[in-house]
C-alpha cells in the first residue's frame, strides 16, 4: 500500500476545507486536500443567497455590527449554540468577506442613489448614500434584524468557491480528486491520517499526517428529499464516529429549508423571500403573517418550514401532481430584479419546472437542507477526544448554529472556520503535540482492516441490495425524523434503522466491475450512513423537548431546565446498532445572552433557573460599567472571547464612518 506523508491532510475541498488548507500552507506546512469530486464541484458551489457578515454598508444594514449578528445567531440557534464560538465567528466574518473581496469574489456593491425595493409585499423607494457607494452590499435574510447577507447575485457560493479554489491552486496546494477517506488512522487518542480509496482505480492508499481535518459537509442524503448534493453523505463525520473515540454533536439538529421546488427538491434561495417574495397557499392567500406577525416570511427557517407544514396539514396546500405543496411568489419583484439578482432561480425554474418565475408561481415545500450537527470540536476546531483531528464547516459541530442555522451563516462559517482551523492546525503542527511517531505497521494494519471490509462486502452472499436498503433508510428518515417528530414514530424509526443495519451486513453485490465499482461504493457508504441516521433518529428520540429545528409534537416546548445541553454521540462498539449518547451542558452563567424568546416562533418555554440569575448578573455588570462604556467594553465585561482567536484576527473591524 502506498503511503503518502504530509503535515496537514484536509478531507473535503469545499470552502471550509480549502480555506483551512490555504491557512496551513501559508504557515509553511505541506498540505494535501482530498476530494470526492473536482474541488470546484463541491457542494459549497450550490449556496445561492448570501454570506452573513455585519459590514453594515447598505441602508438596510446600517447600524449593523458583531453584536447584532451575534444576537441574531444565538436566537436563531434557539440558544443551542456555543456563545463564545459565535462571538469568534461574528467577529471574524467581516474579515473573511474582505479577504475574499481582495482575492477576487465579485461581491455585489452598493449603488448610490434611489432604488426601488419590495418590503412586505409593497414597493418602497430607498436612497443609498455616497459614502457607501462601491462597498459590499447585502440583502435581507430570515431571522436577522439587519440586511446582512452579502451576495453575488444568487451564485454566491459558486463565486466564493471558485475564488477559493483558484487561491488554493495559486498556493500550489494539491487536491487529490476522486479520493474517498474510508477510515481515520489513529493510535489511541491521536489521529494520524486516513486510509483512502481511489474512486477511479479502486486502489487503497494511506495518507499519514500530523493534523487531519474533516471538511466533508453535511449528511443530508440520509434523507429522501433533500436539497443537498448527492455527495453529501456525511462520510467525514462517519469515519470520525467509527474511530469509536471522537464524538459527533447534535446530530438530531437537522434543518429543513422552506423553499425546495416540488418535486425535484432543488433549493431556491432564501434571497427570494429576503428580496420581498411571498409564500401563498392553495387559495392564493399570504398565510405567514397569520402565524408570524413580526417576521412573517422572514422568520428563521425552522419556524417558516414548520408553519408551512402546519398550513398544509390544515388543508390549505395546493394539490399537485407530486403531492401537496405551497407557492413561492416572486413575481412582484419584477423581471429586471429577477434577471439580475435571482438568475439561478430563474434558470432552475426554467429547466426543472418549465416555468418563468417572472410570470409564474413556484411550487415549493420544505426539504432537508442542512446538518447543524457534526464532528464535535473545541473553539479552535479540534476534536476534544481525538487529538490531531480537526473539523471545519458543515461537517463540524463547532457550534455556532445550535439547533437552527440562519440563512447565510453557513458559507460564512465555512470561511471563518477555515481561517481559524487552518491556523490552529498550523499551531498544532508547530507544537510538541504535533510531532508524529507512527509505525508503518500500524498504517498497514488500518489498511488491511479496510481491505478486509471491502472484500467482505464484495463476497457477501446474503442477497440484500445496497440501493434498496439506502432507499429504505432515506424513506424512514424523511417520514419519521422530519420536521414534526413524535416519540412513537421516532422509536419505530430507530427500530427500522436497526433492522436495516442488520440487513446491511448481508449485502450481495451484483457487479464485480474492476475499478471504483459504484455498487461497492453504495454498499460501504450505506453502512456508515446508517450509523449517522441512527445518531440522528436516536438523538431525536432521546431529546424530549423542542428546540430550533428539532420539533417534538409530543414535547412542543423548549425545555432549558433539562435540555440546555448538547448531544454527543459516539460509537465505541463497532458491532452495536445504537450510538452511545452523552450530554454536554451549556453553562448559562457564562452566556452573554441568556435564553429567552427568539422574537419569532412560539413564546412558551421552560426556563432554566440559572437564566434569571445570569440576567441579574449581566444587568449588574452593565450598570457597573456606566453609561459611557462603548459596546466593546460592555461585551468584554460579559463574555471575553478575543483571547480565543488567533492573534492576527483579533483587531476590530472598521465600518463606514469608523476610525480604526
Amino acid at each position: 500500500m502506498q503511503i503518502i506523508y504530509t503535515d496537514v491532510l484536509v478531507v473535503g475541498a469545499g470552502l471550509a476545507g480549502q480555506r483551512a488548507a490555504i491557512g496551513a500552507k501559508r504557515r509553511g506546512h505541506d498540505t494535501i486536500v482530498l476530494s470526492l469530486v473536482p474541488a470546484k464541484r463541491s457542494h459549497s458551489a450550490a449556496a445561492q443567497g448570501g454570506m452573513q457578515a455585519s459590514l453594515g454598508n447598505c441602508l438596510g444594514a446600517s447600524g449593523d455590527n458583531e453584536d447584532i449578528h451575534f444576537a441574531d445567531t444565538v436566537r436563531g440557534s434557539d440558544w443551542g449554540a456555543d456563545q463564545e464560538v459565535v462571538r469568534m465567528f461574528t467577529h471574524t466574518a467581516p474579515k473573511g468577506i474582505r479577504e475574499l473581496a481582495a482575492w477576487g469574489v465579485p461581491w455585489n456593491r452598493v449603488q448610490r442613489g434611489k432604488h426601488e425595493i419590495t418590503v412586505d409585499g409593497k414597493k418602497q423607494t430607498v436612497e443609498e448614500s455616497d459614502a457607501a457607494h462601491g462597498l459590499i452590499t447585502s440583502r435581507n435574510f430570515g431571522g436577522t434584524r439587519k440586511w446582512r447577507a452579502c451576495f453575488v447575485s444568487d451564485g454566491t457560493g459558486h463565486a466564493m468557491l471558485y475564488t477559493m479554489s483558484n487561491q488554493a491552486i495559486a498556493a500550489g496546494i494539491p487536491v487529490h480528486e476522486r479520493m474517498e477517506a474510508l477510515a481515520l488512522i489513529h493510535e489511541g487518542e491521536r489521529c494520524c491520517g486516513a486510509i483512502v480509496r481511489n474512486l477511479q482505480s479502486g486502489e487503497l492508499l494511506a495518507y499519514v499526517a500530523k493534523a487531519t481535518c474533516i471538511a466533508t459537509g453535511g449528511y443530508g442524503r440520509i434523507y429522501r428529499v433533500s436539497t443537498n448534493a448527492v455527495i453529501n453523505e456525511g462520510m467525514g463525520a462517519a469515519i470520525a464516529l467509527e474511530t469509536g473515540i471522537a464524538s459527533l454533536g447534535n446530530m438530531e439538529a437537522i434543518q429543513f429549508h422552506p423553499t425546495a421546488i416540488v418535486p425535484a427538491g432543488i433549493l431556491v434561495t432564501e434571497g427570494c423571500r429576503g428580496d420581498g417574495g411571498l409564500l401563498l397557499d392553495g387559495a392564493g392567500h399570504r398565510f405567514m403573517p397569520d402565524y408570524e406577525p413580526q417576521k412573517m416570511e422572514l422568520a428563521s427557517r425552522d419556524v417558516v418550514s414548520r408553519r408551512m407544514e402546519q398550513h398544509i396539514a390544515a388543508g390549505h396546500g395546493v394539490q399537485g401532481r407530486f403531492g401537496e405543496h405551497l407557492w413561492l411568489d416572486i413575481r412582484l419583484l419584477g423581471k429586471a430584479h429577477i434577471e439580475r439578482n435571482l438568475r439561478e432561480v430563474k434558470e432552475i425554474c426554467h429547466y426543472f419546472l418549465g416555468i418563468d418565475p417572472v410570470n409564474d408561481l413556484i411550487p415549493v415545500r420544505p426539504a432537508q437542507h442542512y446538518s447543524m450537527g457534526g464532528v464535535r470540536t473545541d473553539h479552535r476546531g479540534q476534536s476534544p477526544q481525538l487529538r490531531g483531528l480537526f473539523a471545519a464547516g458543515e461537517s463540524a459541530c463547532w457550534d455556532i448554529h445550535g439547533f437552527n442555522r440562519l440563512g447565510g451563516n453557513s458559507v460564512a462559517e465555512t470561511v471563518v472556520a477555515g481561517m481559524i482551523v487552518g491556523d490552529s492546525m498550523a499551531d498544532f503542527c508547530d507544537s510538541q503535540e504535533g510531532a508524529l511517531q507512527i509505525s508503518t505497521a500500524l498504517v498497514e494494519e488500518f489498511g488491511r482492516r479496510e481491505r478486509q471490509r471491502l472484500v467482505a462486502i464484495s463476497s457477501g452472499t446474503g442477497g440484500e441490495n445496497a440501493f434498496e436498503l439506502t432507499r429504505l433508510m432515506q424513506d424512514t428518515m424523511t417520514a419519521s425524523v422530519g420536521i414534526f417528530r413524535h416519540g412513537e414514530r421516532l422509536r419505530e424509526a430507530v427500530d427500522t434503522l436497526q433492522g436495516l443495519q442488520r440487513r446491511a451486513a448481508n449485502i450481495t453485490l451484483r457487479s464485480s466491475a474492476p475499478g471504483a465499482n459504484p455498487e461497492l461504493v453504495a454498499a460501504y457508504r450505506l453502512k456508515r450512513m446508517l450509523k449517522l441516521a441512527q445518531c440522528t433518529a436516536f438523538g431525536a428520540l432521546q431529546r424530549t423537548e423542542s428546540r430550533g429545528a428539532h420539533y417534538r409534537a409530543d414535547y412542543p416546548q423548549r425545555n432549558d431546565r433539562e435540555w440546555l445541553r448538547r448531544t454527543l454521540a459516539s460509537w465505541p462498539d463497532a458491532d452495536a446498532t445504537l450510538p452511545t449518547l452523552e450530554y454536554e451542558a451549556l453553562d448559562i452563567m457564562g452566556m452573554e445572552l441568556p435564553p429567552g424568546w427568539r422574537g419569532y416562533g412560539d413564546r412558551d418555554y421552560i426556563a432554566h433557573p440559572d437564566t434569571e440569575r445570569r440576567q441579574h448578573e449581566i444587568d449588574a455588570v452593565l450598570a457597573g460599567l456606566g453609561e459611557t462604556a462603548d459596546r466593546y467594553r460592555r461585551q468584554q465585561a460579559l463574555m471575553p472571547f478575543e483571547h480565543l482567536l488567533p492573534t492576527h484576527l483579533r483587531k476590530r473591524n472598521q465600518r463606514v464612518g469608523d476610525e480604526l
Binding site: 470546484k40 464541484r41 455585489n108 456593491r109 480528486e177 448527492v230 426543472f352 465600518r655
Partner: protein, 249 residues
C-alpha cells in the same frame, strides 16, 4: 402550470449508452441499450440512477448537485454536449444516446476527468487574481470599493461552471489537445476585467497569445451555442482577440 387533463400512457425510453471501463482489460467501447418507463418530470439524472439501481450497478456517471450548478454531469446527449441533470427526458425523443464528453480522459462509461483538465488549465493560465503584494489587503479595514456595474460584469463571466461542454463542442479543441478552449479564454477575460488583478495585457499575451490560446480559436462557435450557462463566449473571445492582436503586433 399546464395541467394535463388526459393522462397518456408513459413512453418506454430506449437509452443507449456508450460504455467502456478502462480499468477492465476485457472491456472495449460498445453501445448498450437500456429500456425504462418514463416518469413525470424525469431527468437524465433520475433515469441514469434508475438504470444503475435496477439494471446495471456497474454503470459509471457523475452527478453532484443535480441542479445544473456544479458542472459535473456534462455528457453528449444525442450528439450534443449538455448537462444531464437538468435535461428532462420529455424534451428528448424516445431513443436517447448518451456518450461521455470527448476530449477528456475517460474514467468509465459516462464519467470523464474534467477536473484534471480544468486544474491543468487553471495552472497554465494562472486563473487567479495576481497582486504583487499578496498580503497588502488589510482585512480589518474597509474593503476596496468597486463600481457596482463592474462587479456584475465580472460575475457575468465568473458564472462558468467548468463543465467542459465548450471543449466538447469545439472542433478546434478536438483537433488540438493543447487548446485552452472557451473556458480558458473566458477566464482570462474575467481576470483582465478585474481591477484587483494587476496583470498587464503583455502578461496575458504571454499566456494566451499563441495557437494554444486565443489565436488557435477558429470561431466555430460550438462553445457559444452549447454553453449551458449561456455565457457570452464569442463576444469575449473576439474582445480578447482584439486586445491580444493589439498587444502582439
Amino acid at each position: 402550470m399546464n395541467q394535463i387533463a388526459v393522462k397518456e400512457a408513459p413512453r418506454s425510453l430506449k437509452i443507449r449508452i456508450l460504455r467502456h471501463n478502462p480499468h477492465d482489460p476485457g472491456s472495449s467501447p460498445h453501445l448498450q441499450t437500456f429500456e425504462l418507463e418514463e416518469a413525470e418530470s424525469m431527468t437524465l439524472f433520475i433515469a441514469l440512477n434508475e438504470i444503475r439501481q435496477t439494471m446495471d450497478p456497474s454503470l459509471q456517471f457523475d452527478f453532484v448537485c443535480r441542479a445544473g450548478i456544479c458542472g459535473s454531469c456534462g455528457m453528449i446527449i444525442n450528439g450534443r454536449p449538455g448537462l444531464a441533470c437538468r435535461t428532462l427526458t420529455r424534451n428528448l425523443p424516445e431513443c436517447i444516446t448518451l456518450a461521455p464528453l470527448p476530449a477528456f480522459e475517460l474514467i468509465g462509461d459516462l464519467s470523464v476527468n474534467t477536473g484534471k483538465w480544468m486544474r491543468g488549465m487553471s495552472e497554465h493560465l494562472e486563473t487567479w487574481v495576481h497582486q504583487r503584494d499578496q498580503d497588502k489587503a488589510d482585512i480589518d479595514r474597509l474593503e476596496e470599493r468597486m463600481e457596482p456595474d463592474l462587479a456584475e460584469k465580472i460575475y457575468e463571466l465568473e458564472r462558468c461552471i467548468e463543465c467542459g461542454c465548450c471543449i466538447a463542442a469545439c472542433g478546434t479543441a478536438r483537433m488540438r489537445e493543447d487548446f485552452v478552449g472557451a473556458v480558458g479564454l473566458n477566464q482570462i477575460t474575467r481576470f483582465r476585467l478585474d481591477p484587483r488583478d494587476e496583470r498587464s495585457d503583455a502578461d496575458f499575451y504571454s499566456l494566451v497569445g499563441d495557437e494554444s490560446g486565443v489565436f488557435g480559436c477558429m470561431t466555430l462557435l460550438g462553445c457559444e451555442d452549447y454553453c449551458p450557462k449561456d455565457l457570452p463566449l464569442a463576444a469575449q473571445i473576439a474582445f480578447l482577440r482584439r486586445r491580444m492582436a493589439a498587444t502582439g503586433s
